[in-house]
């Protein structure tokens, strides 16, 4: 019995802890709020530790094939725990100043993480959808958490309506695939399609809806409209959450749906992904130029980055999948640091979310300007930062799969992208500071953010171990 539960032990621990914090928080006076915080952090650490400790080379199926515990899921779960934990460290001060540092945030964050974990290790349409909805519902309510902010409420509303639309499409697509193949298990679906037994037309129409649903969740053009408004409207802490760990889960979702279940329809989804990828890269990067708000700029940058991720993905082989996975990991690391710096500069009544708020940062604090410089260089893909190697890997994968013109377009798009990333650098280093308020933050926040920024440099110089992990995780999980 215990053995059968082993694959979902991290999820079980997380759920139990979420309930505990929910109850505990009821009885804690506000001055003891940090108990909940540290309990949450301990839980995340425990989840990460269990994931590592129970990791095995061979995939393990549980709950009658609903859940799979393979290297891929272990790796992504571990990273999600780390990302969420880091996000909480970065957000603590920001939330506290705005009176949002309450038990609900912690509980919702944990439940969102639970949703991501379920998504990551799902082996059936049912669990995939379950995880997705759990994640989405938590995020909707977190965006709306800042009740007095009109922008936040509006963003939550849009996010909810469009998210529901996307869920509907995904569900509709899944039901069509079910109708065509007679199964919800992703491996069985793959076998049926491979044997040529599915109903071709229905399957293809199902694929269109599934891809649309995925594109919605990733924020790829033309399903991207929610991204800038939500990123902009949500409290920065919540934007940070939306912009990081869920991307890992979304990658798993894409991989399980397209890379496993619908792998037999590779040539059909490749065409759609090409269009999505190209539109996202071009539109994301070009529109970002006109932004004056850094959260909005980073939202368009997310859209462009998801286009780059899809560029690797659509190569549809081990090199492509691992490049895409590396790209997502790199993106999550970079995003964490970027919003981390934004929150570091924010204080009571001041969001630090306009590009001009970064003016002369080098004069105020050379160190944080340097960290932000690393972040911007990584996003722009300047060597030797992590972002350079990530872009290099996906472009190499696309070239290897024969999409040379697409690779050329990607390079041109990233050239356009360099413009607005470097503008932040210019503002930080070549303009005079207007605001001279000292930057205050907790020690753990500072240490973590510094480590985060330097990691972008370190992994850029030493990309091979991380890349090796991606390749091994995918190869051991059956993507050969």
């Amino acid at each position: 019995m215990t053995h059968a539960l082993l694959p979902v032990l991290p999820e079980a621990v997380l759920l139990a802890a979420a309930c505990t914090v929910l109850l505990l928080d009821l009885f804690l006076p506000p001055s003891r709020r940090h108990w909940s915080f540290w309990l949450t952090q301990a839980t995340l650490l425990a989840c990460a530790a269990i994931t590592v400790a129970t990791a095995e080379l061979q995939p393990l199926h549980a709950f009658g094939g609903l859940v799979v515990d393979d290297m891929l899921s272990d790796f992504l779960k571990l990273l999600s725990c780390v990302a969420v934990s880091t996000m909480l460290f970065y957000s603590r001060g920001y939330l506290a100043v705005r009176g949002l540092f309450r038990g609900e945030v912690l509980v919702l964050t944990m439940l969102a993480l639970l949703g991501m974990m379920v998504m990551i290790s799902a082996a059936s349409f049912l669990t995939l959808y379950l995880g997705l909805e759990l994640l989405a519902l938590c995020l909707y309510s977190m965006v709306a958490m800042h009740r007095t902010s009109n922008a936040a409420s509006e963003a939550a509303m849009k996010y909810f309506v469009l998210g529901a639309l996307a869920s509907g499409m995904l569900l509709y697509g899944m039901s069509m695939v079910y109708g065509a193949t007679g199964s919800l298990d992703i491996h069985r679906i793959a076998r049926v399609i491979h044997a040529g037994q599915g109903n071709g037309t229905v399957l293809l129409f199902g694929l269109v809806f599934v891809v649309s649903g995925i594109a919605f969740k990733l924020g790829a053009v033309p399903y991207h409209m929610w991204v800038p408004d939500v990123y902009h409207g949500a409290p920065t802490a919540v934007t940070l959450l939306i912009g990081t760990a869920p991307k890992l889960a979304a990658f798993a979702l894409t991989l399980r749906l397209l890379g496993v279940a619908l792998a037999g329809l590779e040539f059909d989804w490749q065409g759609m992904l090409i269009v999505l990828s190209l539109l996202s890269m071009v539109l994301g990067n070009v529109t970002a130029i006109a932004q004056t708000n850094i959260k909005r700029m980073l939202a368009y940058s997310t859209i462009a980055n998801m286009g780059f991720m899809l560029l690797g993905f659509l190569a549809a082989n081990l090199a492509g999948y691992s490049a895409a996975m590396f790209y997502v990991v790199a993106y999550v690391l970079t995003s964490l640091a970027s919003f981390g710096v934004v929150m570091l500069l924010a204080r009571e009544g001041f969001e630090a979310d306009r590009i001009e708020d970064f003016r002369g940062l080098n004069q105020r604090s050379p160190w944080w300007a340097f960290i932000m410089l690393l972040v911007m260089f990584s996003l722009a893909g300047v060597p030797p930062t992590l972002g350079f190697y990530a872009k290099f890997a996906v472009i190499e994968a696309a070239v290897g799969a024969g999409f040379i013109w697409l690779a050329v377009a990607a390079v041109l798009a990233s050239l356009v992208g360099a413009f607005y990333y470097l503008r932040v650098v210019k503002v930080m280093y070549f303009e005079d500071a207007v605001d001279t308020t000292p930057i205050v933050a907790r020690g753990d926040n500072r240490a973590l953010l510094s480590a985060n920024g330097l990691a972008l440099l370190l992994f850029g110089i030493l990309p091979q171990p991380l890349m090796g992990l991606c390749v091994v995780a995918l190869a051991q999980s059956g993507f050969l």
């Binding site: 469009l162 408004d229 059909d268 759609m272 070009v286 529109t287 970002a288």
Partner: protein, 631 residues
């Protein structure tokens, strides 16, 4: 200690990072000078000790090269690029010089730079330089070497322009950087060509490929010449030597470490390291020897009349580097490295001694305003005199042995030695002896020509400086007894000697000794007794004197023939037409277009939810139609 070699390289980097971060404004000045000094001097010394340990291990391994692969930097296609370090006899010698002399100069700097405001920044740069220099000599592949090569250029630029508030010094830094870029172009081309034809950048493999049964399908001479162009930049040879004399704008210990003992010998090291190529490239070798001899001669003539103490030493460095290239050109690679070693000892001693003089005279560098210092700063004087005798080739000091071997092989080597080459090199040696003793006399003997105020403040330097001088003087005295060419012979064999010339060896040694003493005698004759005879001589040949004093007006010629036409071209054609009209026009047009597009694209983002949903649905419909059409 599997990664001992990596550790040697990384130790100075740690020093750079800690000092650069903790002790400067960047990190908020967290630590004091004591910490900076301990870290900056301790780490190079640790690297030196580690190098000695590696040498012992190399010996135990029967001189099988030690290889330490730090990590695989990139896998591109089927090719892997590794960051690997390689330790054989040649690397051992170079690493010992770099860490040993480097450590000494770090210790000396602690005294010399004590009063400087940017003390921590100075040591951070110096550690950074050491890191790149070690990368350069320890790297197994040309790729790693190139990173070090560019890195030392950067560190050198930062240190030449260390006092960047002075525009002239900042300009000297820029000049060094730009002149080196010209050489690097050749180096890069050579590297590309090698990678394309040999398929690897590992230097031991490149040598093996050229020494193998089938030669790579590339002209060894072409590769050799391209790489040598890189070497002329870094090692200050004709026509790219112009940056080195100006590089003296940096703090004096920097001139000693970077612009005399280590970095400028990188070109010599490169040629010796890739001797496999040059052994099959007689044309390239002849060019190396010719350029070397010409540089040795011309630089020596300029040094005859210079009056700035550091400028004399700078031209002497250029001249000595020329002699090293003569040795390389005639196939005596081990001898060239021998001269690199002895030169590192006595030239470091001379520069640091000059530093001590300048320190004592509150910044005065003109030897015409010195004189009679021998009694006032005795330690500096004695060490400076020993090093002067060593560079002049007075036996049995270090310079005599290495220079004598260079002269012998330039005469008798079966790989391009000739009487003419020997004559030019001997003339350069004679002049070296002369101008060095002239320097010694004008600085330390005769009546004082100092202003009263300066004279009043003359003082001997602190122990941290004089101690280092004593060690280096000792090495300059006995360094010649290291039988380095013999030690290196198993990997860098000495060239065969033309049999008919064998019996001339003793005669040549006699001539070399005679030349050294002639130079001494001439200097004493002309500059002893108030330098009246020198003044008379100058009066008789004003034109020649003016030409030499103006350094053959090479800088002016470059300015007139190269810089100005280039400036005109870049201003009129490239800037006004190409850049402003074509490039900027296109770019601004594109940028404006992108901004407009971005603006209109942003307008789609109206915030209207219904529009968003409509667009998404339109996407789905389009995908459905597209799929329908393709079923």
């Amino acid at each position: 200690m599997k990664h001992a070699l990596t550790l040697i390289v990384l130790l100075p980097l740690v020093g750079f990072l800690l000092n650069g971060f903790l002790a400067t404004r960047f990190g908020g000045n967290r630590v004091g000078k004591g910490f900076v000094t301990a870290l900056a001097c301790g780490l190079p010394i640790a690297a030196f000790l580690l190098t000695v340990a590696c040498l012992v291990r190399l010996q135990e391994a029967g001189y099988q090269p030690l290889v330490d692969t730090a990590y695989t930097w990139a896998l591109i296609g089927g090719r892997s690029f590794e960051i690997a370090f390689y330790f054989d006899r040649l690397t051992a010698v170079m690493t010992l010089i770099v860490t040993g002399v480097g450590s000494l100069i770090h210790v000396y700097s602690a005294g010399y730079m004590k009063e400087d405001e940017s003390y921590a920044r100075y040591f951070a740069y110096l550690n950074l330089f050491l890191f790149f220099m070690l990368l350069l000599v320890l790297g197994r592949s040309l790729l790693v070497l190139f990173v070090g090569w560019e890195g030392v250029g950067l560190a050198s630029y930062l240190l030449i322009g260390f006092w960047f508030e002075d525009p002239e010094k900042a300009a000297a830094g820029k000049k060094a950087f730009i002149v080196n870029r010209i050489g690097d172009a050749g180096f890069l081309l050579g590297m590309f060509l090698l990678y394309q034809t040999v398929g690897t950048l590992d230097m031991d493999r490149i040598n093996a490929a050229f020494n193998g049964a089938t030669l790579p399908a590339v002209s060894a001479s072409l590769v050799g010449i391209l790489l040598f162009i890189g070497a002329t930049g870094k090692s200050a040879q004709i026509p790219l030597y112009v940056w080195l004399p100006d590089a003296m704008a940096g703090p004096t210990p920097v001139s000693a470490l970077i612009h005399a003992a280590t970095m400028v010998t990188a070109g010599v090291y490169l040629v010796a390291r890739l001797s496999g190529i040059y052994l099959h490239a007689p044309e390239a070798s002849a060019l190396v020897a010719g350029i070397g001899a010409a540089t040795a001669f011309f630089a020596a003539t300029i040094a005859l009349v210079q009056t700035d103490i550091k400028k004399v030493l700078a031209y002497s460095t250029v001249s000595q580097l020329g002699l090293m290239f003569v040795a390389l050109g005639v196939g005596a690679y081990g001898v060239a490295i021998f001269h690199v070693t002895t030169h590192a000892f006595f030239k470091a001693c001379l520069f640091l001694g000059a530093g001590s003089v300048i320190h004592a005279l509150s910044g005065e560098q003109d030897i015409l305003k010195m004189g009679g210092l021998a009694r006032k700063i005795p330690v500096t004087f004695v060490t400076f005199a020993i090093a002067t005798a060593a560079i002049a080739g007075i036996p049995p000091l270090a310079g005599f042995f290495s220079k004598d071997e260079i002269l012998w092989f330039s005469f008798a080597s079966a790989r391009g030695g000739s009487t003419f080459l020997w004559l030019v090199a001997s003339a350069a040696s004679l002049m070296t002896s002369f101008y060095m003793f002239r320097l010694l006399w004008l600085t330390f003997f005769g009546a004082s020509r100092m202003s009263h105020e300066v004279e009043h403040h003359v003082h001997e330097s602190p122990l941290s400086m004089t101690g280092v001088l004593a060690v280096l003087a000792l090495l300059s005295a006995v360094g010649g007894f290291l039988a380095l060419p013999h030690f290196l012979e198993p990997m860098l064999p000495l060239p065969a000697v033309v049999p008919a010339l064998h019996h001339h060896e003793r005669t040549l040694i006699g001539i070399a000794i005679a030349l050294a003493f002639t130079g001494l005698a001439a200097a004493v004759f002309l500059y002893g007794g108030g330098a009246r005879r020198a003044a008379a001589l100058r009066g008789r040949f004003p034109l020649a004197h003016g030409l030499l004093l103006g350094k053959y007006f090479v800088d002016e010629a470059y300015d007139f023939l190269v810089s100005r036409p280039l400036l005109w071209l870049s201003d009129r054609v490239f800037l006004r037409l190409g850049d402003r009209v074509l490039l900027d026009g296109t770019l601004n047009g594109l940028a404006a277009w992108a901004q407009r597009t971005a603006g209109s694209l942003s307008r789609i983002q109206t915030g209207n939810l219904q529009l968003y949903a409509f667009l998404a649905l339109a996407g789905v419909v389009a995908a459905l139609v597209w799929t329908w059409a393709h079923v």
